[in-house]
């Protein structure tokens, strides 16, 4: 990771079919900080993360992502700076775990060494299933694969939507370890969660209740 990312939310408001999900959210997240977004189901946690990723538009307000606290990152550049672990992130079922990571890395504009991809898969406990099609993976294994992708892309901003969902105890420990290490490397993390343990990483909080 060569860069750090500062995230500025300026009066962000989102309406969905005339229903106000959230209104006038303003926050500034510095590199190495974690912002947790909590709230009941349907409160707009995932939508807020998608807005920050640039996949969904705000109803009003704006999101500024700044590289090294200075240069504004344009929408078409965002992919290089963001890693998103989300239930909506789906892998290609006919490709293997290794092929999926290799492809997504190349599509995002980087070629990763095969041994680096394998090391990332090993880190999340999937080295034995690296060359199996994703269709054979359990939901927990697919969740681990999302973190392997994150390790390969190594973006300076992590958006984590319910990162521990579908994971066993060892998986949850792995996620906690990855978040902890990422924060020490100045990664900015925005975490949508209802898990009390994950909410403890927060330097800042948004409650959408």
């Amino acid at each position: 990771m060569e860069h750090s990312v500062t995230v500025e939310l300026v009066d962000v408001t989102k309406y969905y079919e005339n229903k106000c999900l959230f209104r006038n959210i303003s926050k500034k997240l510095l590199p190495g900080e974690c912002l947790t977004v909590t709230g009941p189901n349907g409160s707009g946690k995932s939508t807020l993360l998608k807005i920050i990723s640039g996949l969904v538009k705000t109803s009003s307000g704006k999101i500024n992502l700044r590289c090294n606290a200075n240069r504004l990152i344009s929408p078409c550049e965002r992919a290089k700076y963001i890693g998103f672990v989300s239930p909506e992130l789906v892998f290609y079922k006919s490709l293997t775990g290794y092929e999926n990571i290799d492809f997504i890395a190349k599509a995002s504009g980087m070629a990763a060494l095969p041994e680096f991809i394998m090391a990332s898969l090993q880190r999340v406990g999937l080295s034995g299933q690296a060359h199996e099609p994703v269709i054979n993976y359990s939901t927990g294994m697919r969740q681990r694969l999302k973190f392997a992708l994150l390790l390969v892309l190594n973006p300076p901003l992590w958006l984590l939507d319910e990162p521990s969902s579908n994971l066993d105890t060892a998986g949850k420990k792995l996620v906690a370890d990855l978040i902890h290490k990422a924060l020490t490397r100045s990664t900015s993390i925005i975490l949508a969660t209802n898990e009390a343990e994950e909410a403890n990483y927060a330097h800042q909080k948004i409650n959408l209740a």
Binding site: Y92, K93, F103, K106, A107, M110, A111
Partner: protein, 225 residues
């Protein structure tokens, strides 16, 4: 260094390779297009029952089969990604121009493959002789590139809507009409052993270049908005 930066043409190549790999493993689009081609051709052949048809009718039938083949299979490039949920992944990580180029190349390859399968069968089933092979290959190549280019752009547009199937054909047909009519006219001349005019040949290639340039300009607005 564990990684190295790639330019967007490299990313486009990766997208093409991924689509080819998925297609090789599932054979979804190629199977659909091949079956559509064979069924349509068999239907036409049995209806004609060996009766001779004019060059204009033959040219029209050929391009109608190719058009509906494209409508049956080419929307898959984006609609399948939308239905499988992978469009989210692609939109999150991939460069818009790389996606357009990768998907366009995949659609061109697919349609060329189906055309290569269709032409010998079409000529045998309808008992047609061709002497101007070079000109026929030229018209078929540039004609199908135009179909693939328009279909790739409209496929992404309709993948974001609810009425995917019907909208795809409705939007694509008017955009393709100039290319379609020129290709039919040029094919008709080739089947009557006449060399198509330079105007027609130039129009087919020029239309492709224009559509690809317009798609490239428009696609980023669709992809990032």
């Amino acid at each position: 260094m564990h990684t190295k930066k790639l330019t967007w043409p490299n990313s486009a190549w990766a997208i093409l390779y991924k689509d080819l790999l998925c297609e090789f493993r599932t054979r979804y689009a190629l199977g659909t297009l091949t079956m559509f081609t064979l069924v349509t051709l068999s239907g036409i052949s049995m209806t004609l029952a060996g009766a001779a048809i004019s060059s204009s009718i033959a040219a029209m039938l050929l391009w109608i089969i190719l058009f509906f083949c494209a409508m049956a299979g080419l929307a898959r490039t984006f609609v399948y990604e939308q239905e499988a949920g992978t469009l989210f992944t692609l939109r999150l990580y991939a460069n818009g121009q790389a996606v357009l180029a990768g998907k366009l190349l995949f659609n061109i390859l697919l349609l060329q493959l189906v055309t290569a399968l269709l032409i010998p069968l079409f000529l045998i089933f309808l008992n047609i002789e061709v002497h101007l092979w070079g000109q026929l290959v030229y018209v078929l190549f540039f004609g199908t590139v135009g179909v693939a280019a328009v279909a790739t752009l409209t496929a992404f547009m309709v993948s974001c809507t609810n009425a995917k199937g019907s909208l795809f054909t409705v939007i694509t047909f008017p955009l393709l009409l100039p290319q379609f009519l020129t290709a039919i006219a040029a094919t008709e001349q080739i089947l009557t052993d006449m060399i198509p005019s330079w105007n027609e040949c130039f129009f087919l290639a020029g239309y492709d270049a224009t559509v690809i340039a317009a798609a490239s300009l428009l696609f980023d607005y669709l992809w990032y908005d």
